[in-house]
């Protein structure tokens, strides 16, 4: 069942190649919807306390002890759902706008979905590393072929202050950064398997490696190899060098799913791999990781409210949100970890519509530069209300599920030390500032001549409404997600908690 979820998108992507140009988009959309249907089928049969379910285990390379084993549990089920939900609006949005070479575009987009789903469902360490690497390749081509050079005088859209970005240099920087991390992770993964086997039968399955345990000495360096890969992917504060350029050059629908879902694989990796497998190292480096997390929060927020390009404002706000999630995970408390999982889903749900709205704004004002923008709400009340809900969810207003996530993270942090929670809560105040600034500078203030504030078209509304609807429904009862994921998250964090105490 899980294999069908992983490979359906790719299958439809390939079918899209054969179908005439015009239908490629709708074949892709149909494929994404089917994947969502399968995911909901899995959710229906899912029992929160059942631990690892729907397990499929087929030997893939016996020579190396690598087997194609999949499984889903509380931690990954809602992230899988988030992935399948997030891809549909992106595909529909680009279907409506039409792209050059559509067949290849949708093949790459769906291949990205396949790889991400694979990463969430893989229970074999090496399969996880493989899908982790595979995720970046389609987006490398998506950003490279359909992205655009930015900045400089020939680009009317961009303010000179932001500097020139060529698509090739941006995508190269992105893929080199990400793959440096994942190559280190490959070495770390193999070392983990080999050391934990120590003479015994070599296997990469996560459960066995966790059961066998790793000696302290090697845990430390393997921890940092994994942490490097995940921190680059998020991106976390010191390793986000690649993010500004690639966010400015990328096409917005692809960027929406990239920023919403791929960054979650990094955080998911900490929960699934690092915490259970290297508890001692995690406990030893807890303070460093918390410092990095809080630094990401403050740095991300500071950048978010100074940047003038909307894409970068959203990008750095994701850095801040991911900082919260990492802080939640490394608080080693069940409320913190559960808050982190809830926040992962919420952030994903918020970022996809946010980027699509930025795309719509760019169509209305000609550029994503905040400076010359304003007053779009004049003749577009529905568009303004949708953007209002999304930006309120971004700053985690207490009526939203984001608030519950962030509140539990702060509660988890508080158990570690009150100081962490207080510094992180500065991030909450800054979040209010940058989210509102983003909303005001685009929607309010007088309307400049260049921009026209036309109402959201019905088709665009149909793309956004489902996601915003889910945000509102979750706002009323976040317990849906918490109930499903708590037992699994608790067991993931339990190992480290014992060591930490």
């Amino acid at each position: 069942m899980l294999s069908s979820i992983i490979w359906t998108p790719l299958l439809f992507g390939l079918i899209g190649l054969l179908v005439p140009k015009r239908f490629a988009a709708w074949v892709a959309a149909f494929g994404a919807v089917i994947t969502l249907g399968l995911a909901i089928g899995v959710l229906a049969g899912f029992d929160p306390d059942g631990g690892m379910q729907y397990v499929t285990d087929v030997t893939w390379i016996p020579g190396l002890g690598v087997d194609y084993s999949l499984g889903i549990d509380g931690v990954s089920i809602f992230l899988v759902l988030l992935t399948t939900v997030a891809w549909i609006p992106a595909i529909c949005f680009s279907a409506m706008r039409g792209t050059e070479r559509p067949a290849l575009y949708y093949l790459m987009l769906l291949a990205g979905e396949t790889a991400t789903l694979g990463a969430f469902l893989a229970q074999d360490l090496l399969l996880f590393v493989l899908f982790f690497d595979l995720m970046i390749v389609p987006f490398y081509f998506l950003f490279g072929i359909w992205g655009r050079d930015r900045g400089g005088e020939n680009d009317p859209e961009d303010s000179p202050g932001n500097g020139v970005v060529t698509v090739q240099s941006a995508t190269l920087k992105m893929i080199v950064f990400t793959l440096i991390g994942s190559l280190l992770m490959l070495v770390g993964a193999i070392a983990a398997a080999v050391i934990s086997a120590d003479g015994g039968e070599l296997t990469f399955s996560m459960q066995t490696i966790i059961a066998r345990g790793l000696p302290d000495g090697s845990q430390n360096w393997i921890f940092w190899f994994f942490a490097a890969a995940f921190l680059v992917k998020m991106p976390a504060f010191p390793l986000h060098g690649w993010m500004p350029d690639s966010y400015r050059a990328a096409p917005l629908p692809a960027l929406a799913v990239f920023s919403a879902v791929l960054s979650k694989v990094g955080a998911y990796g900490f929960l699934r791999v690092v915490l259970p497998m290297m508890p001692d190292a995690a406990d030893l480096f807890q303070t460093t990781m918390l410092v990095l997390a809080v630094a990401s929060i403050l740095y991300g927020s500071a950048m978010a409210f100074t940047k003038t390009d909307l894409r970068l404002v959203l990008g750095f706000s994701s850095v801040a949100q991911l900082g919260f999630i990492t802080a939640g995970i490394f608080a080693f408390d069940v409320t913190g970890a559960e808050g982190a999982v809830l926040q992962m889903v919420n952030h994903g749900l918020v970022v996809v519509p946010a980027f699509l709205i930025v795309a719509m704004i760019a169509e209305r004002t000609g550029s994503t530069e905040l400076g010359p923008m304003g007053g779009l709400a004049k003749k577009a009340p529905v568009f303004a209300v949708i953007f209002l809900i999304v930006s309120m969810a971004t700053l985690a207003i207490p009526a939203s599920a984001n608030f519950i996530g962030e509140f539990y993270i702060l509660n988890g942090l508080f158990q570690v030390d009150a100081a962490w929670a207080i510094v992180a809560s500065i991030g909450v105040a800054l979040a209010a500032f940058y989210a509102l600034r983003m909303y005001q500078l685009t929607m309010h203030n007088p309307l400049p001549e260049g921009a026209d504030s036309r109402e959201i078209s019905l088709r665009d509304a149909l793309v956004l409404i489902p996601m915003v609807g889910i945000i509102v429904v979750l706002a009323f009862c976040p317990q849906l997600i918490i109930h499903g994921s708590e037992p699994a998250v608790d067991s993931a964090v339990a190992v480290v908690r014992e060591v930490a105490r």
Binding site: T306, P398, A399, F403, I422, A429, Q479, I482
Partner: protein, 668 residues
């Protein structure tokens, strides 16, 4: 039954807000207004029914807690969507729904010409809904939810005319300060859960005395965090700067949010959590002292400022200061009584001011307003009633409620006597600035707007200017309509102001010391296990206090008469002699500048530093550095490849020598 009525109280405003919001293209303007009013009136009726239901309960079990479903629960930290109905919350529900239904009627005709009519009523209903959530919340998380939704609604309504830069900036300032307050509540809720294991009111208030000893640092920390939230919401001293700018919103908004309901949320919070504050007397005293400081400072500013709405705003701030002192020193029922009466006369004052401002074609500067007595008799009468009640003129509701607080402070004695004296000075100042408005606007020769109104019978058509900046504005969506309406010509406004005028006058009779202490008895079940339950001044002390209050208010009115009618040159002379003090007060004690200097500018500088120096220097520098190194190494290897065959042979020779030497060393 009371629980279902309470849920209905919540449901109606939400339904009203949703229907107006979603059907804004279909529903004509008039019906939208009516739907809004109907929703709030329905809530008020349900509030009454809940009150009746509650009174039916026996004395000691006069509180009901009910919850719909479990909102979220992780590892013991369970939050359910629950409400808690008891006399205090019903009292607040009635005050909120009562005053806001009157304000809805007022704004039904006041906002007629504005293009965002639907949006206004939808936000207004949403505001009342969130205020009711705050008041009826059953646990601290629901309190936070209500708290933040009220903050959001106030942001939405302050920047209602959103295409005005000044309005959006004011909205942003209000919202961010509000979020800072929310964070105070977050940390308080976390601390409460950490020590008491639950966030429900009933559980927390029962376990608190067992877990904490008096003035233990944990409980003081909790109370201080709660106070941070209270100060931010009620615009008390350190967090007060947003209230003056909040006057950018339409006048009904100022009267509803920034006079009657939202700013009193802080007072309600302290009253609700009195068991915690009684365990942490230092925190309660801090609340009282801050209340006193705000009271005095706001009073001085109100005397100096010339913008009509800002004078009333600062007067609100000082009256809220009174309430903070009251709940800070334990006079809960006195505080709540003053909250109620203040809601009546302050809303009335704002409405009257609104009517005058629309007569002045949106000009708010009182120096330009003269002689409206003849042009607008009804508004003038209402203005006078409001001013009388505000300054505590004997007989009016303000007299009873304010002096009850002052007596209680005097009754408590000891250090609270200082507060008693401070409050007396405050009362004197209140009388001065409230009658400064009356004597500057009503008497004397009619200014050109008033004259125009007398002759033509309708408001002058000045081109719409932004009161704060004076720039010209168009009247499209997001800007105030061409003109608004004065009470004389709008039935809705007249009705609302009339009702409030009556309430302002006779409101005090509810709580005549020794005769009818209705409020104290009504609130008794809530505060029965408070340490101050039994303590209140004897009837004779109360009446002597009332007499002192009357004397002070009459003295204040007399000085105002002296300054602004008899010897109008005196204020100018004072201004020149005490110029330092005057400039301090006119610039609102440099509150904005201090906050900017301490918090806003450093944060912005940190942002610029990160963006400029750090991002370009360190992050891009590092990546460019690494790329540069590899590229230069590449160039080095390429240059080594000289193409000269003999060069290769040399390198091979060195290679062979190196290996041979290596092995020779190893073999020794």
């Amino acid at each position: 039954m009371t629980a279902t009525w309470a849920w209905l109280v919540l449901l109606f405003p939400l339904l009203g807000s949703m229907t107006i919001g979603l059907t804004f293209r279909v529903l004509p303007e008039r019906t939208a207004g009516l739907v809004g009013i109907a929703a709030i009136v329905a809530a008020f009726v349900c509030g009454i029914l809940a009150l009746i239901g509650l009174q039916g309960e026996p004395h000691e079990s006069r509180h009901v807690a009910s919850s719909l479903w479990e909102y979220a629960s992780v590892g013991g930290f369970t939050i359910d969507l629950g409400i808690y109905v008891d006399p205090l919350s019903i009292f607040m529900v009635l005050v909120v729904t009562g005053v806001s239904s009157l304000i809805h009627i007022y704004s039904y005709s006041y906002m007629k010409s504005d293009q965002g009519y639907h949006r206004f009523f939808s936000y207004l209903n949403f505001f009342v809904f969130s205020m009711l959530v705050l008041v009826l919340a059953g646990n601290f998380i629901m309190l936070i939810v209500g708290w933040a939704l009220v903050g959001f609604a106030s942001y939405a309504l302050i920047s209602y005319w959103y295409r005005r830069n000044t309005a959006t900036k004011a909205g942003m300032k209000a919202f961010v300060i509000n979020v800072v307050g929310d964070i105070g509540l977050y940390i308080a809720a976390i601390l409460i859960f950490k020590n008491l294991g639950s966030v429900d009111y009933t559980a927390v208030f029962e376990k608190a005395p067992e877990v904490f000893s008096v003035n233990e640092w944990e409980i003081v920390a909790i109370c201080l965090c709660l106070l941070v939230g209270a100060f931010a919401k009620s615009a008390q001293m350190p967090f007060h700067t947003w209230l003056a700018d909040a006057m950018e919103g339409p006048t009904p908004v100022s009267s509803l949010i920034h006079a009657a309901t939202m700013v009193t949320a802080g007072v309600y919070l302290i009253a609700r959590c009195f068991p915690l504050f009684e365990l942490a007397p230092t925190a309660a005293d801090i609340a009282a002292w801050v209340g006193l400081a705000t009271l005095l400072i706001a009073g001085t500013i109100a005397i100096a400022v010339t913008d009509l709405k800002r004078i009333i705003a600062y007067s609100t701030m000082s009256q809220i200061g009174y309430m903070f002192v009251a709940v800070g020193i334990g006079g809960y029922s006195a505080g709540m009584f003053h909250l109620m009466t203040h809601a009546f006369f302050k809303a009335l004052l704002f409405m009257a001011a609104g009517s005058i401002i629309s007569a002045m074609a949106n000009m708010q500067d009182i120096d330009k307003m003269k002689g409206f007595r003849k042009a607008m008799p009804f508004t003038a009468a209402m203005l006078i009633i409001g001013a009388l009640a505000l300054s505590g003129f004997p007989g009016t509701s303000g007299w009873f409620s304010k002096d009850e607080i002052i007596d209680f402070a005097h009754f408590r004695g000891g250090m609270y006597d200082w507060m008693w004296i401070g409050m007396l000075i405050g009362a004197f100042m209140t009388a001065i600035y409230s009658f400064r408005i009356i004597f500057r606007i009503l008497p004397g020769p009619a200014c050109k707007e008033a004259e125009y109104l007398e002759q033509h019978g309708h408001v002058i058509h000045g081109e719409p200017k932004n009161p704060a900046t004076g720039q010209l504005e168009d009247t499209e969506v997001g800007y105030p309509g061409e003109e608004h309406h004065i009470a004389e010509q709008a039935g809705g406004m007249k009705f609302a102001m009339g009702v409030l005028g009556v309430l302002a006058l006779i409101g005090g009779l509810v709580q005549i010391p020794g005769v009818s202490e209705v409020i104290t008895h009504f609130l008794e079940p809530t505060f029965e296990d408070s340490i101050y339950a039994g303590m209140h001044p004897s009837v004779s002390q109360a009446w002597t206090g009332l007499a002192e209050g009357a004397l002070i208010s009459i003295a204040g009115i007399a000085t105002a008469w002296l300054l602004y009618i008899k010897r109008p040159d005196l204020p100018a002379r004072f201004r020149s002699r005490f110029s330092a003090v005057y400039t301090l007060c006119v610039n609102k004690w440099y509150g904005d500048q201090v906050i900017d200097f301490l918090i806003v500018n450093p944060v912005k500088a940190f942002g610029r530093f990160c963006n400029g120096v750090f991002e370009r220097g360190v992050i891009n520098g590092a990546t460019a550095g690494v790329a540069g190194i590899t590229r230069s190494a590449g160039a080095a290897v390429r240059d080594m490849q000289s193409g000269l065959l003999r060069g290769y042979a040399v390198l091979m020779l060195f290679g062979i020598l190196a290996i041979v030497v290596y092995f020779l060393i190893r073999s020794i």
